[in-house]
Amino acid sequence: MANIWTLVEHRDGAADSISWETLAMARKLADKSGGSVTAVVLGDGVSELAQTAFHYGADSALVVDDPALKDYRLETYGAALAELASARTPDILLMGASDKGREISPFVAAKLGVGLASDALDMDLDGDSLIVTRPVLVGNLIAKITFSDAKPQMASLRRRVFPALEPDTARSGDVETVSVTLPETKTAVTGFEVAEGEVSLNDASIIVSGGRGVGGPEGFPTVKALADVLGGALGASRAAVDAGWIPYSHQVGQTGKTVQPDLYIACGISGAIQHLAGMKTSKVIVAINKDPEAPIFKYAKYGIVGDLFKYVPALTEEFKKELGK
């Protein structure tokens, strides 16, 4: 009977979809062990997120509503969650492997002296004990992680590896509002600039990437046009980034971002092992490359051998027609 907590992540009250994916994973584990799922909501004026958490599968919710939690800061969010978990000791504490989750979880694990497995691809239970499958050596190996008896056993779930449940608006549950003692803060958020006009690689369900084959900065608009018509994000290989054709924030691969979209279209990318490390688990990979021997074709479901400057614009046009854009 595992008592499982999940953290509901949000920015100014807008939930991050990873929260519902994590909740679905918690639901799967709880159902297997006859246990329960508690959603933990931390923030300022965010109590309605508890209701949404019920729709997505939580049985109950713990809410800390405090003006001091308005801006996300590791020191306050971490302290709040550590205090709750230490007072009530859930068996398992899960969150998303988002930028926040990947710093809150080790902070809490250190404060409580418990085990943590970050960036899980899958989770299971052995009795009531957590087992996590996660990538190591930048995706070149898969490790199975088991935990000691120290509770809670903690893990963070990678984005887009486990689907959220269909929301059921008839579901409800008990909300418990609690207060915690927050530490005096040593950090302050003094500015924020939204990543504007661009679909973030992290959340994208479609990514279109360009590599050295794009030939120069003037080639990227061709690739971006396809990304735009699909509502997808623009990615790049390191060769294109190192050449200065596109900023580093677009780099996919071992030393860039790890992505797992439903559709990854690689244009003029050879498929070096370090690029593959960041994208090979995408659901459907399409490769457009003029070299039929390019390694990327070994990982692609669909391939076009040809000049990307001919085929990519043709695809963009065809999608425009089909999607009525």
């Binding site: 926040k100 080790p106 898969i142």
Partner: protein
């Protein structure tokens, strides 16, 4: 100013190839390197030392052969290093590692900033540096793309964090643990003189007893997670379907296939 750079020696994933898979690389994969993400931490420490006066020193927990990576860091310009090594440290998880690093940091006297990489490419946990900050009770600033301002007299730092949703500016008191991204600036190459000096350097080592830790706080005994199984990722079973024809024709076929896949 004193910066402590947390640096780990890792396998070199550039050596991965058809004949060198991940399992082989971990077991026997040739020369070890400075964890690539930690090169940016070293660069940050050296740049701060140049701009503000003072020094950057390395702190590494690992096997005795980690001296190789330490020498690279010294050749880049770090002024000193300590290797934390002991049989009892083997198989430490991130928290046990953080305990070892924290015990050593407490013995280092005054310091202004602790620098770390984004993650270590072998374990890939990105946990250790946060846990060092949590154990020391000092702020942690993660995903740092830029140090906007730092005042070591007033003990404050302002950084830009590149997070999922945008770029956040945060001001913090010092000392703090700062984990940097690649955007912080390209790491310098070791200088010729640096390499010669580093080759001769004697690197002080500390073990369990020196750090005042007990055997059950570190290594497998002090860890709450174990890697019980490590395997190669499942082979991808994709059957490539080549789409042929002139651009317009091929585009029509491919678009229909992708719509049928329900990925759009």
């Amino acid at each position: 100013m004193k910066a402590i750079v947390l640096m780990k020696q890792t396998p070199d994933t550039a050596q991965l190839s058809a004949s060198m898979d991940g399992l082989k690389l971990m077991a026997e994969g040739g020369p070890r390197i400075v964890n690539p993400w930690d090169e940016y931490a070293i660069e940050t420490g050296l740049a701060l030392a140049e701009d503000h006066g003072g020094e950057a020193v390395l702190l590494t927990m690992g096997k005795p052969e980690s001296t190789e990576a330490i020498k690279t860091g010294l050749a880049m310009g770090c002024k000193g290093a300590t290797l934390l090594t002991d049989d009892a440290f083997e198989n430490s998880d991130s928290l046990a590692t953080a305990r070892i690093l924290t015990a050593a940091i407490r013995q280092q006297g005054d310091y202004d900033i602790i620098l770390a990489g984004k993650s270590a490419i072998d374990g890939d946990t990105a946990q250790t540096a946060v846990q060092v900050a949590a154990l020391l009770g000092i702020p942690y600033l993660g995903y740092v793309a830029k140090i906007e301002a730092v005042d070591f007299d007033a003990k404050t730092i302002t950084v830009v964090r590149a997070i999922d949703s945008g770029r956040e500016t945060v001001t913090s008191s010092l000392p703090a643990v700062v984990s940097v991204l690649k955007e912080i600036g390209e790491p310098r190459y070791p200088s010729f003189m640096g390499i010669r000096k580093a080759a001769k350097a004697k690197i002080p080592e500390m073990g369990l007893a020196d750090l005042g830790l007990s055997a059950d706080e570190v290594g497998a005994a002090g860890s709450n997670v174990q890697w019980t199984q490590v395997t190669l990722p499942p082979a991808q079973e994709t059957q490539l379907e080549l789409i042929e024809g002139e651009p317009e024709e091929a585009a029509k076929i491919l678009v229909q296939k992708l719509l049928a896949e329900k990925v759009i």
